[in-house]
């Protein structure tokens, strides 16, 4: 067993979300310290080589010969991790294909992978996929922009002003308890079944995580830095610009990451409930005709979009939080 040392105590924080989780499971510095100590102990056990020659003290009572590796023995090259991780998915697809080919999995229950690939290609080739994809993307983009924009403004108002907090925070916290998708009927009453209702639902769903994380981050800005700002006479605007906003940025980005995930979730549901275009609509249409291959294509597209948007936020975090990686960059 070996333990890797996380230097500087902020390892993994370039990705704020996972960094926090990692800190949670690692139980902070104390646990890490313990692990290091344990690792050192192991290292001693394995590296103090007692050559396998007849151990002089083996016969003596109270002494044990350690069974250690022979350094001359050829080591097998380990299979790379990514290759090992591919094994499960590849097997799954293989079984799926075999099941479909042998008729074990009927096409009206689940189309086979090969059929799905074909259908995907056809849909892409005749433009259906691209057209609906653009529509779905636009809904998410507008909804996100609206939701994130409003959330940031509200978070600033309630984070920076006591009056703002009194007026804004309590209502937001109450509304947060309502499941967004429960609002679908009301949203349809308000906006009909056009574009607006989808954008509205996405905006509403993404605003909450952004607001909550940004507000908490503003309030969580280290008070020592606020004190410093006073000693260098930064003034209120300078304090906000130089201390509060950059200090709250990591929290905002965590909220943004949640927002991206949620936006796809809400889009999927709202497009399948009432729509005449978009990926979800494509899938709902396919349902009425029992085209499971089209449904699976839609699922795959959603999956890829989710992965891409996550990568986008990560990139954003890496750019914006360069100072956190200070130890590697310069």
């Amino acid at each position: 067993m070996s333990t890797s040392l996380v230097l500087g105590g902020r390892g993994g924080n370039a990705e704020a979300g996972t960094g926090t989780e990692a800190a949670g499971t690692g139980a902070g510095g104390a646990a890490a310290g313990g692990a290091v100590a344990g690792g050192a102990g192991d290292a001693v056990a394995t590296s103090r080589v007692v050559v396998a020659a007849p151990a002089p003290g083996a016969a003596e009572p109270g002494r044990v010969a350690l069974a250690l590796a022979d350094p001359d023995r050829a080591r097998r090259r380990p299979v790379p991790k990514w290759l090992r991780r591919m094994l499960g998915p590849v097997l799954l697809v293989a079984f799926w294909q075999i099941g479909s080919s042998t008729g074990l999995i009927q096409a009206d229950i689940l189309a086979g992978p090969w059929t799905v690939l074909h259908t995907g290609y056809d849909l892409a080739a005749d433009g259906t996929l691209g057209e609906n994809l653009v529509i779905s993307l636009r809904r998410v983009a507008f909804g996100l922009a609206l939701g994130v924009g409003v959330a940031v403004v509200l978070a600033l108002v309630s984070g920076l002003f006591q009056l703002g907090e009194d007026l804004v925070d309590a209502p937001v916290q109450i509304l947060r308890a309502v499941p967004i998708l429960g609002l679908v009927p009301l949203a349809i009453v308000w906006f009909g079944i056009g574009e607006q209702v989808k954008v509205f639902l996405v905006a509403l769903g993404t605003a909450f995580p952004v607001y909550i994380n940004t507000f908490a981050a503003i309030r969580g800005v280290d008070s020592r830095f606020v004190e410093l700002a006073r000693t260098v006479r930064l003034g209120r605007l300078g304090l906000i610009r130089r201390v509060v906003l950059p200090g709250a940025l990591p929290g905002f980005l965590v909220g943004l990451r949640f927002a991206f995930t949620i936006s796809w979730l809400i889009l999927v549901v709202s497009e399948q409930i009432n729509a005449s275009s978009g990926i979800g609509y494509l899938m709902d249409q396919a349902r009425t005709f029992g085209q499971t291959d089209v449904i699976v294509v839609g699922l795959a597209v959603y999956g890829v979009l989710g992965l891409l948007s996550d990568a986008l936020v990560r990139l954003l975090e890496r750019r914006a939080l360069a100072w956190r990686r200070g130890l590697e960059a310069t």
């Binding site: 230097l7 500087g8 105590g9 902020r10 280290d222 008070s223 020592r224 830095f225 004190e227 410093l228 700002a229 006073r230 000693t231 260098v232 006479r233 930064l234 300078g238 130089r242 201390v243 950059p246 200090g247 940025l249 360069a322 100072w323 956190r324 200070g326 130890l327 960059a329 310069t330």
Partner: protein
Amino acid sequence: MTTAVATATAATSTVGTTGTAAVTPRSNGASEPAVWVRGVRREFAGRQVLAGVDLDIAAGEFVALLGRSGSGKSTLLRILAGLDTDATGQATVPERGAVVFQDPRLLPWARVLDNVVLGLRARDARAQATAALTEVGLGGKERAWPATLSGGEAQRAALARALVRSPGLLLLDEPFGALDALTRIRMHSLLRDLCRRHRPAVLLVTHDVDEAILLADRVAVLTDGRLSLDEPVRLGGARTRANPEFAALRARLLAELGVADDEAEQVDPEQQFDAERQDDAERQDGSAQGDVEQVEGR
């Protein structure tokens, strides 16, 4: 140039309002001290931490303030820095002040140079800041992130941030307490040089008797909320521990702090520091700088 921290008083003062501190300017007479403190009191939750402190610091004078942990040294320093508006009494400080805290307190999201110019409005501020960084031996580190600095480097950047303001009063709150012994020695000589060149009035809060004697023109001891000792450091000849006058003053200060000299000899100074540090850590939030390994890399 001078500002009066005209605080309301409990007993003798003539100022009407109670409980709050107001800052008012005062003309600067040539003979007037840079820092003038009279009857400053401060209590927390009914417990009196400062019970009427009187203190003068002449322009360009270096005063070290000693005291046991929790004796109110930081409280007094924060009052002089204008960070505590609940104190009472009277105090006058130079308009331009600068503070160096025990932790470097560099904004982690701003590069070193941006940290040094923080709050400056002069047009050539960046050039001045670059010069200040060079002065403390950090030339070339302008674009580094604070997280990449060692503990000593970060504290030197904090020193540069204070100096670039050309302060009339430099307030230092145990600025070297978290540094290792070797780095501390180097920082002592750096600070001595810088103060000789810039001549600010200096108040150095410390719990290290040797540090106080080595650096200061005057030492004061804070006991039970008052300055129980306040005397100039007159060391004929070199300021070395070998100087018998050094030892005598040291013993006197230690006695004032309630530690017998022979007792102090036996205490491992590092342990003393660790205990103090832990004490401070209890009151500090998780510091952004705290995670950074504090090793002076050279």
